[in-house]
Assembly symmetry: C2
Amino acid sequence: MDDKEFREFGKAAIDYIADYKENLRDRDVLPSIKPGYLCELLPKEAPEKPETWREVLDDVEKHIMPGITHWHSPHFHAYYPTANSYPAIVGEIISAGIGCVGFSWIASPACTELEMITMDWLGKLLGLPEEFLNSSPGPGGGVLQGSASEATLVGLLAARETTVNRFKKEHPDWDEAIIRSKLIAYTSDQSNSSVEKSGRLGAMTMKLLPTDEKCSLRGATLLETIKKDIEDGFIPCYVVATLGTTPTCAFDNLNELGPICNKYNIWLHIDAAYAGAAFVCPEYRYLMSGVQYADSFNFNPHKWLLVNFDCSALWVKDSRFFTESFNVERIYLANNKDGPTHDYRHWQIPLGRRFRALKVWFVLRLYGVEGLQKHIRHTIELAQRFEKLVNDDNRFEIPIERQMGLICFRLKGEDKLTMQLLDRLMSRRKIYVIPGAYREKLVIRFAVCSRFSMHEDMVFAWNEIAEQASEILQAKLKPAAINESTLLTRPAKKSIEMVSRIKDLEMENKQLNTAFMVK
Amino acid sequence: MDDKEFREFGKAAIDYIADYKENLRDRDVLPSIKPGYLCELLPKEAPEKPETWREVLDDVEKHIMPGITHWHSPHFHAYYPTANSYPAIVGEIISAGIGCVGFSWIASPACTELEMITMDWLGKLLGLPEEFLNSSPGPGGGVLQGSASEATLVGLLAARETTVNRFKKEHPDWDEAIIRSKLIAYTSDQSNSSVEKSGRLGAMTMKLLPTDEKCSLRGATLLETIKKDIEDGFIPCYVVATLGTTPTCAFDNLNELGPICNKYNIWLHIDAAYAGAAFVCPEYRYLMSGVQYADSFNFNPHKWLLVNFDCSALWVKDSRFFTESFNVERIYLANNKDGPTHDYRHWQIPLGRRFRALKVWFVLRLYGVEGLQKHIRHTIELAQRFEKLVNDDNRFEIPIERQMGLICFRLKGEDKLTMQLLDRLMSRRKIYVIPGAYREKLVIRFAVCSRFSMHEDMVFAWNEIAEQASEILQAKLKPAAINESTLLTRPAKKSIEMVSRIKDLEMENKQLNTAFMVK
């Protein structure tokens, strides 16, 4: 493909994306295909001869789009948002065009330096303590990771090595293997599955602690467990506190957890993957009160701050713990920082790294602080609007207070009603919501996700939910009215294939639930 | 930014990239700035109000480009290539536009399925054993990772958990901590620094074994070490063999290592990050003879196969080792595979994942097998051309045979001559080469990297090298002729600042050397 063809192809791709975004509401949010659909459509081997770009772009629409779950559709209310914006897309384009690999300063100085600068912009925007900034005189700093999972794991590994080294120094006669086996990490039973996974990857026991009625991890619970574990000869090493949990957007109590971690020399990592973006608005910063106790803080601009995935922002108070733990060069660190600029390869798991800071820079400049604040406030307003619609219908209840853009609600009564409602919504594909759990009760998680969402979309979603609820509740009054054979004879859903598809989707739905909700 | 503005901005970005690529030779391959240059140019905080896209795009040229090391310049001969092609860039654009997060099938079925299909295309293209393919009846399969570092780590962690579980079953009375502490991994002293780092991250001793005169790890060395370690009570667990090492593109002897690993129940992982791409040409497949013994195989399409970074292809013979080790759901695996399609989140460290398969698909279709083979063969031809230029100059020697697109050469005599030559080349910025080591001797690593490289670029690079060598060797005859003060008075390099910059660059250069060359 020569330059001329690239100009044509690239511009056609830009138009394709703009058209896609403009007409997102015309597509069902969920695809109507069965597992394995694509294998039946595509050849078994790569073509011998080059094809044309028009054929490939046509196939995106013909073969790929029917298998896409549209995360940016205003009818997508599952999980949490994944960010997407025009400035970020163009940032990705320029980054792909430059195509540098920024594992060291000289490998492309701008790649490292723009990351240091934009991480400081972001840190100031959130109101993080100065110690976390690259421009601070101390050893703190910020770095872009690919995901919150990696940020949590990097924190755990640094905490692990740091603690092992400390104990080896304090007790030169202790066996290192024994020290390692006694390390323990803690998080709430509401934290994301990736936190538990980080314990497994890092070979450290990760205890999932119970939370209060607001799903918040409290100091007393942590303290009691730590004391007991120390008595039993274990070494508390790492705590992951969440600001905005995946199941219900709950906030752990940093003001209680922080002093305990500091007192017992335990690395405190804050996972604010979703809710962290809200701190660009000063009125929500009270929710991160206690952040000053943390050793590391992470949030995902790629969730709610309009920077395309992947872009996870991690700050650390003392970056020497990273460089000492991960630097295979074992060079003595004479300075507070690893030079006038960072060598970010020592701050992360992989050696290579993309020029991710470009898209952050584009988003911050093209939205401005005002634009980002407006986006956060608009999302929350929509969630409040939806909350009111639920509250106004006395068939429903909201067992745990709405937080940010997430409402967890259910049909009053037994779980099976809510499950029926979820199944119906899933099979109709008009909106995408997923199940959640609050204190053993099944709830529907409704998140405002798309940046295209409007008040009308809340009404659209609510009408769909309320209408399906009516059908279920009417059926309940007349038990014979709805069963599998009834489904089979209804005009719109008469084929066996449709029933099988619903079952497949239900199965997937359950898998998702287990993946996302730590039980 | 509305749709209309995005169309303008996006298309301007496409033109910017096409212009950039067309005029790459006009830019010095290395930047002429000092560490911290960008902090002085950019504001300390994000702007309050949105700016315009034209301002931002202008700043890319004005502030970012002067700090870029141009990895796709035909004068870039450092490290190894990082891939970049027009089809891959457009693949990234479409992926960014769709913006799905493919952690499960339902999260966007096409994202998972296209990855399964393109990984099979790639696997067949390389001639991998059928057991590695997603379409095989067994539990094997392929997955895209972000980097070879992650692939090596994922292999190590799976090997670790699998071995621990096996020993716990065989010896229920053994303490798990003791088992973990006795696990050992092996690799050659030539393997990439990320292999050693994976041991550190995974808390497993990684022994760097000596290699033969071709820098190849041999069976006898491994066997002897393993036997000794077992006698000493250790548990051999993981071997990383490299096909195409970073320092000299050496190939470990799989036919010797493989049977030993299989006999001792050690996970054999193959890191073919760079050289793996060459196996699309049947004439190079003899270099992976013995691949059938491996448990996992990894190469980076993002190095030499025209798919933009990040895109690292990993195949595994039994994916259950991944899903059992990393699946926090702990669901019993009834099937050989985890369903009709994979849940790739269990095959990797992070939970989230981009739609990377799109760019692979675009590259495979728009180049075709023929186009990819042509690219590999062209690179090697250019390297042969350069090799001849070195061989024809009797001031130089090539101490280790050229492999693929990499030539390691040096000035005959003491290391300091080659070091002087490297320093001169670095400070002149006309070409970018880095130092390497072969059996304690300093060499210059010259890799053919850019897809734009032509025969003329080999001549250009050689003229630059030969000319600088002449100056050094003449200076050697007349010791007084070149010293720091001479440098200072020469017209083109007269300022103190230039000398300081040279020193900075030398320092960076040395850091790079330590990062890339395992000593």
